[in-house]
């Protein structure tokens, strides 16, 4: 489909979470007449149930708008709403590669937050034109002038370039649409060059296979073309192409400068990796659009079906999710305590939670997820390095020469009265401050370096609570550093429970051991034998306690010859027991596996 490239504007919306990306997208959709009023609902682009419920954007959502500008010309906007959570940096980054401009949305009451900065830097890396948007000016607590100054200081623009809007009331939206026409550069497409299209997202469709969301940079894609993935090497025949309204609209072709979708028929999203470049099989391009960077999982957890019979279902469910989520990794693993399951890799905790929730909801699976951990690099005495994604697999201390763990830079922006509490928390978590800067008279940005492992468990929640919800946080991987780490094992009646092993810093290992034993004592039901709970490091016990034996569980009366009832009860209990996990003769209820999570620190 031919559209005059000078009339095309490709842009995304980036912002700190909750600053109003999705709501702003709603207004643009409405104003540009794409959505009939009766179809209008809030957060229109967030189509997943989970996105709607949690009010967060998880996937990138593209949409095409037709806009008649005040110059009387028709423009075609391709707008991409990007995920708003640190876990999904990668997705944001790929979406940026599909655009020429970015609306940087800042909440007029909150001001610049940690993710505002990171997203801005990302957009600048991709050479995007930044269009600053001050949102929520309708709020009584809005501080439009102050925040405008913050923005001006940050990006060095002119005050007049900051568009003031309310995505709620619609105020300023017309001005914003005009500013987009004026300021976002049109694409400079090369229709005649060999095809290059960047895949910024992909979804799996039962009928059409993997559907790549693309931005065509050069050339043209038509239905029936044979295409090749430049990074992955796979060849696909194009079943269908089209562009996005709220649903997908089929066209004959999509051309350089345009955003649209390509149905590849591929049976797995892995065959159409996000970030990869699509080219023509017959006339391939020479260079991909982006240096292809794989989204690397940062956080790992073991997922085990509660009912061991569900193993195959879990595998199939993970495969299905992976079709739509290339960042999700999983490998089979076995645990003495939990049986057969998968070690899954995630971008971050939110990603983990989302996957877990979808497995439970959409696939009706009941799971035990082990405590999230990072990937450790263990260097053995003989110099070889092993990657450890499962704490229980950490080599014995006697074989180890050193252990390295991922560190991150964290920036926290917080009102200054909470700096003290936040620092205390961060130091407890082995964080070291590297910088501090006043954003304005009231708010401070503090930078830290800290081990990712200390951040993944609940640092974010804790930061929110010490700052009464005012602090914002963002982080980025820094690299691996050596740390004095030990593996803490939990033994029940002398037998190690692999799924309860944790890797902790030596300096806090005693507290960990003691608290874990105490928590487990609360969570383990009394059994037919006394159960000893021990915490040990490399075979040396550092904390212990025990759970007294259960003494009575019997039906005193088998009345009037009603044996059926008793037997059926037994059969029901047997069913329930199948779901219990056991180590040696100790039966462990699910909750116990979350003990580590519940240890108050």
């Amino acid at each position: 489909m031919s559209i005059d490239p000078s009339k095309v504007r490709n842009f995304c919306i980036v912002a700190h979470i909750d600053h109003g990306k999705s709501t702003l997208a709603d207004r643009l959709l409405e104003r540009a007449g794409t959505v009939a009023l009766r179809d209008m609902r809030a957060q229109l682009l967030d189509s997943m149930d989970l996105e709607q419920e949690r009010g967060i954007t998880i996937k990138s959502h593209p949409v095409r708008l037709d806009y008649e500008a005040s110059d009387g010309q028709e423009y075609v906007f391709h707008l991409i709403d990007t995920p708003g959570h640190v876990d999904f940096h990668h997705e944001v980054s790929r979406s940026l590669a599909a655009c020429e401009g970015a609306l940087l949305v800042v909440d007029a009451a909150q001001g610049i937050e940690a993710q505002t900065l990171n997203n801005l830097y990302l957009a600048l890396e991709h050479d995007l034109e930044i269009l600053p948007v001050l949102n929520k000016i309708d709020l009584p607590s809005a501080r439009p002038d102050e925040v405008t100054h913050e923005i001006v200081d940050l990006i060095g623009c002119d005050e007049s370039e900051v568009v003031r809007v309310s995505a709620k009331t619609g105020e300023g939206i017309d001005e914003l649409l005009e500013a987009i026409v004026r300021l976002v550069p049109p694409p400079k497409p090369h229709r005649d060059k060999p095809l290059r299209a960047i895949v910024f997202d992909s979804v799996f469709d039962a009928y059409r296979g993997t559907i790549a969301y693309v931005r065509v940079v050069d050339g043209i894609i038509r239905t029936g073309d044979r295409i090749r993935m430049m990074g992955g090497g796979q060849i696909h025949d194009v079943m269908e192409v089209g562009f996005f309204r709220l649903s997908q609209i089929k066209t004959e072709s999509i051309e350089a400068g345009q955003v649209g979708y390509v149905a590849t028929g591929a049976k797995s999203v892995a065959a159409v990796q996000m970030g990869d470049t699509i080219t023509s099989d017959a006339h391939p391009a020479e260079e991909p659009v982006l240096g292809y960077v794989e989204a690397k999982p940062m956080v790992f957890s073991g997922f085990y079906p509660i009912d061991t019979d569900d193993y195959v279902d879990l595998k199939e469910a993970l495969e299905k999710l992976q079709l739509n989520d290339a960042a999700l990794t999983f490998e089979p693993e076995t645990s003495v305590a939990l049986g057969f399951g998968f070690r899954c890799g995630f971008l971050g905790l939110l990603h983990l939670e989302i996957v877990q929730e979808r497995l439970e909801r959409e696939f009706d699976l009941e799971l035990i997820a082990t405590l999230p951990n990072v990937e450790y690099h263990a260097v053995l005495q003989d110099g070889t390095e092993v990657k450890v994604e499962n704490p229980s697999k950490m080599p014995d201390p006697s074989e180890l020469s050193s252990v390295h763990e991922p560190f991150v830079t964290v920036s926290v922006i917080t009102p200054k009265e909470y700096v003290g509490g936040m620092m205390t928390l961060t130091i407890e978590r082995r964080g070291a401050q590297t910088g501090m800067e006043y954003m304005d008279t009231d708010r401070v940005k503090v930078d830290f370096e800290m081990p990712l492992s200390e951040l993944v468990v609940d640092y974010f929640d804790k930061i929110k609570s010490v700052s009464r919800g005012y602090a914002s946080l963002d982080y980025e991987l820094l690299g691996y550093r050596e740390s004095d780490l030990v593996k803490l094992d939990i033994l029940l009646n002398g037998e190690p429970v692999d799924a309860l092993s944790v890797i902790v810093h030596r300096s806090t290992s005693y507290e960990w051991g003691r608290d874990l034993c105490r928590k487990l004592k609360e969570l383990l039901p009394r059994q037919m034998f006394e159960v000893s709970i021990q915490a040990a490091i490399g075979g040396r016990v550092i904390a212990r306690t025990n759970v007294k034996a259960l003494r009575k569980n019997v039906t005193a009366k088998c009345y009037g010859g009603d044996v059926s009832r008793k037997r059926k009860l037994l059969e029901k209990q047997k069913e329930g027991k199948r779901r219990m996990k056991s180590v040696g003769s100790v039966e462990i209820p699910q909750e116990a596996f979350f003990a580590v999570l519940k240890v108050e620190r």
Partner: protein, 374 residues
């Protein structure tokens, strides 16, 4: 259909004078003066449905349970006893055991005479406790004095008397329990059933506990009481032949014993259960529903099941381990690791080729059986 010469008969009498707060049995407080007689006629008729089955059989035990059989109205009782004497007694095996459950407050010499005439030779009295506070808590209408009167009367007229106890209600302690044992064993009682109090959800106690109004006595305390009880009764000549049943030598309840050894029995009356060796079936729980069904000439059966091999195996283990004779070890040879664990923990013991539960094991029997059954 399995045929056997020896059958037991259970008759469920659904009437009670009040509803005890812990009771989950099929019983109700009847207001209709004509219903008891209708009920008795229906019992008679229900037996007729099974005449084919029983024609060639002998009745080795007969048990009237409830409910409160002694609470039957006089006309109903008279009719029942007439029928018993004329119809059932001729089918009794020699030395058949004929038991009646009785509440102390409704045990009256005239009532007893009618039953004795019909062939009664064993009486089971619901003493429950001799502690006045506990009696009150349990919602019983008897007093320590009426309990004693009932024991006196029973022992004068009947040779084989059993007393029921409820153990480990929240107010119960060892001193109180000992007082009850003293009172009972100072009579020529030959059998004691002692049940740990169970709280069932659909009872007044169940609701009270759910609301947090009071708490059942702690497990450990119940276990201590039970173990002391087993020892104390053994010292007084009552051995535990089942986990809740204690008897002087030779005075074990034959009727109940046949439930645990899986011998055939026929249940008559609402909610009664029957077993023919291969099937189990049970009657409508609601007395009127049961009655109407019988009157209409249809079997008042609510449910029935055929036992497959696995079910039989489970029943054998589950029932067998309740008895002091236990089970042949060969029945659980596929669980030898567990058996060893339980032997070591003192929950089971070996007697020749058999395994039986110790008193500690009885206390945990539901757990043990759950794991020993496949």
């Amino acid at each position: 259909m399995v045929t056997s010469r020896d059958w037991s008969v259970y008759v469920h009498v659904p009437f009670c004078e009040v509803r005890c707060p812990y009771c989950h049995f099929a019983c109700f407080v009847n207001q209709d003066p004509d219903f008891p007689l209708r009920y008795v006629r229906a019992v008679e008729r229900e037996l007729d449905f099974h005449s084919g089955r029983l024609d060639s059989a002998r009745i080795v035990s007969l048990y009237f349970g409830g409910g409160t059989p002694t609470a039957l109205s006089a006309p109903a009782r008279k009719e029942l006893c007439r029928w018993l004497g004329e119809e059932l007694r001729p089918r009794f095996a020699p030395e058949a055991e004929f038991t009646l459950e009785a509440n102390p407050e409704s045990l009256d010499p005239r009532v007893l005479d009618d039953w004795l005439e019909a062939g009664l030779n064993r009486l089971s009295i619901g003493i429950q406790t001799m502690h006045p506070k506990v009696l009150e808590f349990l919602g019983r209408r008897s007093t320590p004095a009426s309990n004693l009167r009932a024991l006196d009367l029973a022992c004068q007229r009947v040779d084989n008397v059993s007393a029921d106890l409820i153990v480990a209600s929240p107010l119960d302690d060892w001193t109180g329990l000992l007082r009850s044992i003293d009172a009972i064993t100072s009579h020529p009682v030959s059998h004691i059933s002692a049940y740990l109090l169970e709280i069932h959800a659909d009872t007044r106690f169940g609701r009270e506990v759910a609301q947090g109004l009071w708490q059942p006595s702690p497990n450990d305390q119940q276990a201590d009481l039970y173990l002391r009880l087993v020892q104390e009764l053994a010292d007084r000549g009552f051995h535990a032949y089942e986990l809740s049943n204690f008897a002087q030598p030779g005075r074990e309840s034959r009727h109940n014993g046949r439930y645990w050894t899986r011998d055939p029995y026929l249940g008559l009356g609402p909610s009664a259960h029957s077993f023919d060796g291969a099937h189990r079936w049970w009657n409508h729980r609601d007395a009127h529903r049961w009655c109407e069904s019988v009157e209409a000439g249809t079997l008042p059966v609510e449910g029935r099941e055929h036992l497959d091999r696995r079910a039989v195996r489970r029943e054998r283990i589950l029932l067998g381990l309740r008895r002091d004779e236990g089970i042949p070890e060969a029945w659980v040879e596929d669980r030898s690791r567990l058996v060893d664990d339980y032997l070591r923990a003192g929950l089971l013991e070996r007697v020749g080729p058999r395994l039986r539960a110790t008193p500690e094991g009885w206390l945990l029997l539901d757990e043990v059986v759950l794991r020993l059954c496949d």
